[in-house]
Subunit: 347 residues, 4 copies
């Protein structure tokens, strides 16, 4: 009953096997390994983007921060959701890597609407040098509340960005889960919709620690390479990043793992709803925020279930007060684990 | 005949096995894994430093930059050798992470002398706010030219730093090789000598990608943790960093691997000298810079030897002109490989 | 009829005279001039703060950014109003000088309420290293909408900051106008209320270009001096900053000029109200935001009145649509000018 | 007998008069004042550069740091003399404004030679992303040791920069003194020689606090404007910067004042040489570094002479030991003052 995060589970055996297979003989360092050539080609094929610049880093925050820094200026502002990972969970890394760019929060909930985005960008009026300059739009898909933008949702947001001639970054730490949830192709969800740069997550979905950054237009590739090195994110033994990513995008492993995680969430959500749990955000991928009485939370904790109480205090007194949980399924979730969880809930 | 770098060889099987062993069940992320508790304790024991703060990152540049940023102010200057990795090979990462600190180069060759260090620090006179303020001293051991400071050499440099009340950082990307070369204990080479913070390298010596940062006085531990997160260097699936480091410091693996690398370098150096090669820097650890005629370099390249021509142009015309090679032995070097190299040289 | 800004008017003759008087003989540079000693003492006396550290810079953005950078860490966030100058009008200078700190906007209008501030700080939950760390609170008085916090309002906000052990910065670009409007003493409005650092504006109120930064506790004085120099804001011919500020705080010039400006605003507001203008924010100092029909704006512009149309488009079609003006009175405003303005409005 | 610095003397009456004349009526802020239009046109005329972008800031460090930041990237390195103001006297401001660029010191004395510059740039080898990238060359004229580059010296250095396709910045804090010393025209000393951006000093030569930054190619003008604002160096009451600079470049005031200062230095140097003083650097502009016995330094200090003992300790024991003074003449120096100084020396 491990639902704390999609970074607490193990690495998929195929990824481990790829690391072991890569561990033979000598390989040039710093991204010049032959495996990286493979990775680049596979990702270009998967995204139908033969010109794309493709890079690997080890953390999602690095992918986001380096990509955004490349798309922005220190005097510009990034438009994002108030619950974006770059706003809430990166300890000012975007500000750091960009040299002091601002984040402007687009009012709303889990998902930005085109209207709110347009109004926010327009409101960041251009008054010469006085205010921050308008910079990139950053979209998170899957959102931090477990909901999903369809490819056409993304396209609508990109269209707004284009009205103002602004580039678009997609934080795809859970990109595979978003694709599986929407049946969009990688191209549809990204460059065909108008996305310029993608953080393509592997770590949360079965890898050990690897994220790709994909620039669909390679014009800023060299700048990114310098930023990656300067940020201490260029691996010397790079082949072990390559190996993970190569395995990840081989035989649709990434999509199969995401499907497993999403299916687990569907099963979990169904059981939770049947047990009367409420949902502020309709679960669409592998992350759920159900609300149910404190006494059930307590029973689950006693039974060893691991997850975060998202809203409310487990130690409060009223046994019937509804508290919200955050439950995350990763690729390794099992029906047994889900059913054990639901059993406690129903008991 | 692979002597290009100690980051082009494979990961040691024990480290791979530790990764595989760690890949079971669930583990809290972001450094809260139980393996990290083990790592911390083992490193404290190895260094006889029960209070030390111990952190893991994945690259040497991250270890150096984050440690130095923690020890310095944006308006200060770091004292280091002109050939230090932080000066020559990190694409301004120390400047970036410190928020714009300067590096002041202590004149001299591969090793700083206490006299040169003292003169340089003194010369960075204190004229109120006008010049950069004196900041940490950074020592690299093994140096970037394959020579080594003894523990008492380090102590002498630290004593100079203390005269000016400045902290000391030790870039120990090849720390194990330095210890093996000098028979110093970890404590003697670091805090007993006066070192405040250590970059304790694993990647170049058999690991996949892990370096520890050790603060012997934990007073800046929390600041370091924030800097690591903000620098996007905090791993979510942290257990896989822990596993590498745990294996590395178990049963003296780190020292055994360094000894193997250093022994290879001794064998190689002996053969090179016998063959008439000259050495600007006497090899003391696992890195050699022999000079020998161009025609031998050509023969080696034709025979498939891999290494960098450090000084001179392989494509020049005079077959007898001496060019300098950089040869690095890692843990995986074999006597056969060394002897094949020497055979070509002698033929 | 010049109401565009309080930085478009002339310098007060007393300040000009002080500059001329200072322009004799030799004076040490960089703040070591004897006039600066006078300034420091006068400001300490005015604020009843004998230990205060006092510094001069030439722009309000420098004062704010350097003060906030001194009070914050690069990984922290500054709490301020969505309409604060530091948020809207400084082109990311606070982010730049702080090394990448964030600004967290306290929901609400022109003035922060203690409740909103508390909720916002509390909502920036402390989740270890993941989110930005809580940093200083920055209050603007006079606000950017022409309203004023009383000394007890400021104290209430400072009390909230103290609940979370956070320091407080007061952006007093129009500090004199706020004092005149509230009859508070300088001490009551600042350190007695709990303010740690003040940007004490001179430029908008009759000076040429000078702002003091006052730290009521001098413990960070040296850090500020280094930041000021590194920010290129330490004047070599510093005596000409000192001379302005010395004149400004002599014989209550600063309060007399602010009173004149505020009085002008009262006269203007009275006339505007009589003419039927509406006010979203009740004018309390020297800045007004009246709404009146487009046809009157057009008449005023034709008559040569200078001010910004704050909301709405002057070139729209409906002559009766209400547009909002921003009108600012500075020390040099005249009754004639105001009455001419009102005459046009009434005609 | 005031020879401490060219920033300790008074402002020239013409500049004061211009400030007074500008202090009438209303003027738009932030550089939109009509006086700035005049300044721009005059500077373009003076430099025979009708397209040049011209900006004003108040300090030399701001001019240098903002210009260099505009010409560099955070991952690049600036090539300069070891005694450059940007290296020794700006408390890491260039590093701060550039976001962490490095300064690479060209070995040598007061003046860089083309050979040393070429060797240094070449030595900063291009090894992909590992080292800092080659960035702008910064030349100081008058140098910090009182010597001068001729226009053809500057052209020779620029030619080296062009070999590597690098831009050139000229720190002209004492630009007028350099022109007077060499009889070069402003154009010859700058863009005709190959200079891209100039810090054109006013403060040290009779102004109160104003420096122009001139970009001979305006392609980075907007970026500079944003950097200036973000650096808090855009003045709201900008007309008072304009007024100073307008007076400065009217009727050759700037050249006349520099000539007066340089002439004073000639008189002083002649007397010093006659009195037996030695000179490590031959004085060529308005700054001298004579060496003479301690007892004479003591006599001068007792007589009230003000200057810095540059090398050596005034309080040492040997009355005959030679100490080096730094003597600076500004526009306000008088023959009487010089002769009094020399009289003491000769007595």
């Amino acid at each position: 009953m491990f639902f704390a995060s999609d970074n607490t589970g193990p690495v998929h055996p195929d990824v481990m096997a790829a690391l072991a297979a890569a561990n033979t003989g000598y390989a040039p360092g710093y991204g010049a390994d032959a495996l990286m050539d493979e990775v680049r080609e596979r990702i270009r094929t998967v995204f139908e983007a033969p010109e794309a610049a493709v890079y690997l880093v080890a953390t999602g925050t690095a992918a986001n921060s380096l990509a955004l820094a490349t798309l922005s200026d220190p005097w510009s502002t990034v438009f994002c959701s108030p619950v974006a990972h770059i706003q809430e969970d990166e300890c000012n890394a975007p500000e750091f890597f960009s040299g002091g760019a601002k984040l402007t929060l687009v009012p709303g909930g889990d998902r930005m609407t085109p209207e709110a985005l347009r109004a926010t960008i327009a409101g960041e009026e251009t008054r010469g040098v006085h205010g921050p300059q308008r910079g990139p739009v950053s979209i998170t898909n899957v959102t931090e509340r477990g909901t999903v933008y369809s490819a056409s949702d993304v396209a609508a947001l990109c269209a707004v960005a284009r009205e103002f001639d602004l580039p678009v970054h997609l934080d795809g730490a859970r990109f595979a889960n978003a694709l599986v949830a929407t049946n969009a192709t990688p191209a549809e969800m990204t460059w065909r919709a108008g996305v310029d740069a993608l953080s393509f997550g592997g770590t949360k979905n079965g890898c050990m620690g690897v994220e790709a950054v994909v620039f669909f237009d390679p014009k800023q590739a060299w700048e990114f390479e310098l930023r990656r090195k300067r940020g201490a994110h260029l691996f010397s033994k790079h082949r072990y990043l390559s190996a993970q990513m190569a395995a990840y995008v081989t035989d649709d492993l990434w999509l199969r793992l995401a499907r497993k995680a999403n299916d687990g969430a569907v099963r979990l959500a169904r059981g939770l709803k049947a047990a009367g749990a409420g949902f502020e955000w309709e679960p669409q991928a592998n992350m759920l925020f159900p609300s149910f009485p404190r006494r059930l939370h307590k029973a689950l904790h006693e039974a060893g279930a691991q997850y975060y109480v998202w809203e409310g205090d487990l130690d409060g007194s009223d046994p019937e007060e509804a508290l919200t949980a955050r439950l995350v399924c990763d690729w390794s979730v099992s029906d047994e684990s889900i059913d054990s969880f639901l059993d406690v809930l129903r008991s």
